[in-house]
């Protein structure tokens, strides 16, 4: 136990992250560490900057100030003779290749079947053998309960089914980190459960996950830590029972009161 704090560097380390869109500051100095195997749920009202912060982690958004490290490498930059330089597009693509992402609008490739969606990155980005990739994709699709739809096209599926395929697609790149950007917000209420169940089983298997969501129930059951954001800052963080049952900050309290 004495050694663990030294040799266990966090998988994700964000320091003083600032981001503005057209002079509107959306992130005002975010600090966050996520350890390997940890499930962090980010809560907060709309416009609190939680989705923007998530998108900064795999550099779908650039940041104006601060730094983000994933798995020891700085996202988007490298130090050369003490000078910080932006990475090439190719190097950034390589950094992203082990970060899985699940989007609010699923974003499956509509011109490809379910199976083709899942094997696209493993074959095209990671250079995996095609037969191997197909076999693994089938296992993953079985895991999310979508075995029966391998040759369907995304538009032939319900929202919940599409999102489960999207999760399988993200898992297929063997991610060290999974980002979920409001994965259930675009779903009909009766379809939310099937996606959350899939996500909960991933959390139980020890996958490192950062989940931006409005699902308080998921935070309570699956999170190791809850981060509450408001106005571009982290207002409160801690284990779910502390933040959700006994919030300290007035903003957290007023936000959570709406869910009771």
């Amino acid at each position: 136990m004495t050694m663990s704090s030294i040799d266990q560097a966090p998988l994700v380390r964000a320091r003083n992250v600032h981001k503005s869109f057209h002079h509107v500051e959306v992130l005002k100095g975010i600090d966050l560490d996520v350890k390997a195997g940890e499930v962090v749920v980010v809560l907060g009202p709309s416009g609190s900057g939680k989705s923007t912060f998530l998108r900064c982690i795999n550099r779908l958004e650039t940041i104006d100030k601060g730094s983000i490290f994933v798995d020891g490498g700085q996202i988007g930059y490298q130090l050369k003779n003490d000078k910080l330089q932006p990475l090439s597009n190719r190097a950034i693509a390589a950094q992203r290749s082990r970060i899985g992402m699940v989007f609010q609008q699923f974003n499956l490739y509509p011109h490809m079947t379910v199976l083709q969606n899942v094997i696209e990155a493993p074959i095209g980005v990671h250079g995996r053998n095609r037969d191997e990739a197909i076999a693994e994709a089938r296992e993953l699709l079985a895991k999310v309960g979508m075995s029966h739809k391998v040759s369907a096209y995304p538009r032939q599926l319900s929202g919940g089914q599409q999102q489960r395929v999207a999760i399988a697609r993200a898992l297929a790149i063997r991610p060290t980190l999974m980002l979920f950007d409001e994965p259930t917000s675009a779903l009909d209420p009766e379809l939310v459960g099937e996606v959350l169940t899939t996500m909960r089983s991933l959390a139980d298997q020890g996958l490192t996950m950062i989940v931006v969501t409005h699902e308080i129930g998921f935070a309570r059951e699956a999170a190791d830590r809850v981060v509450f954001m408001d106005g571009g800052r982290v207002v409160e963080e801690g284990p779910p029972e502390a933040v959700l049952e006994n919030p300290q900050h007035p903003r957290t309290r007023s936000f959570l009161s709406r869910f009771i």
């Binding site: 795999n58 597009n89 992203r96 290749s97 970060i99 974003n107 490739y109 490809m112 199976l115 391998v150």
Partner: protein, 313 residues
């Protein structure tokens, strides 16, 4: 009014549900519609009869010259120019579209300038310009700007009527195709390129695998238009002494004075080619429509076969 709009059920009519089952509904027979068909068909048949029997059309002459070697050579020139100019036009247009949309200011400015010039000047002028390039630049050379030259050629040796025709048609086509392709790329949901990026795809791979296949749905129909107008635009090359289809029939009727029959030969060939292209376009559109809600599921891909094999076991 009241009697018309009142629901039938309220008027004490039969209430059984089967009576109102829409499955048994069918359109009433409309005699006016049948009459219209008869009239239109009669007029069309009569017109066809008149055309076929009018000696001024010179159908026997049309038949004689339809496969005339001169005509066929002209046809080959037209088809060859169309295929080559269109292929170069599409390839260059794709590069221009990507350059135009890139964040690189240099690339997008050069592309914008190219499109501005080649769309903004008449094709006929461009063809004459390329053909007479030697009057502007008697020599073409490669070297360092304002510095020494490494190699140079006589312009007249480089620019034959064929090269002038291909360069003129292709560069003009590229400018139009660039805008068509750019429109297609813009029509793809932004979330798609974002997803490809998030999965670590390079920009080139994302374009090739994710964006372009989806953009094709809106690129193909206007490209079909472009191809068909290109076939006819090739007739402009007669001004620089290229013997295309139209030029060939003209050279014959200048000799025989059978103007109308010879023009009919050209018109029938143009229509024939266009019809074949329409069929091809339909097939290409169906291919890129896969994955649409109402599209038939494609049976030929590997995934499908794999599933069928699995099911067979």
């Amino acid at each position: 009014m009241n009697t018309l709009s009142a629901p039938a059920m309220e008027k004490g009519a039969r209430m059984d549900a089967d009576l109102y089952d829409v499955a048994r509904a069918h359109r009433p027979f409309r005699p006016g519609r049948l009459l219209l068909w008869v009239v239109v068909l009669a007029v069309a048949a009569n017109f066809a009869y008149i055309v076929a029997n009018n000696p001024n059309f010179g159908w026997p002459v049309v038949a004689t010259y339809f496969f005339d070697p001169t005509v066929i050579r002209g046809l080959y020139v037209t088809l060859g120019l169309t295929v080559v100019a269109m292929a170069i036009g599409v390839a260059l247009g794709l590069l221009l579209a990507i350059a135009r949309m890139s964040r690189d200011r240099l690339a997008s400015s050069i592309s914008g300038l190219f499109i501005w010039f080649f769309r903004g000047t008449p094709l006929l002028v461009q063809l004459i310009f390329w053909y007479n390039l030697s009057t502007l630049f008697p020599e073409i050379s490669i070297g360092i700007p304002f510095g020494p030259t490494f190699a140079s050629w006589n312009t007249n040796d480089l620019i034959s009527p064929v090269t002038a025709a291909i360069v003129g048609l292709a560069l003009n086509e590229a400018a139009y195709m660039a805008e068509i392709i750019r429109g297609g790329l813009l029509s793809v949901d932004k979330g798609q390129s974002e997803t490809a990026e998030a999965f670590g795809m390079t920009r080139a791979r994302a374009l090739r695998r994710i964006i372009i296949p989806q953009a094709m749905r809106s690129i193909v129909p206007p490209t079909g238009n472009q191809l068909i107008s290109m076939i006819k635009a090739t007739s402009l090359v007669s001004v620089i002494a290229m013997a295309d289809l139209l030029y060939s029939v003209q050279s014959i009727y200048n000799r025989t004075f059978e103007v109308m029959p010879m023009l009919l030969v050209a018109v029938l060939w143009y229509l024939l080619i266009t019809s074949i292209l329409n069929v091809g376009q339909g097939a290409i559109e169906r291919h890129y429509n896969r994955g649409e809600r109402d599209a038939a599921v494609r049976k030929d891909d590997a995934a499908e076969k794999a599933v069928q094999q699995e099911d067979a076991r």
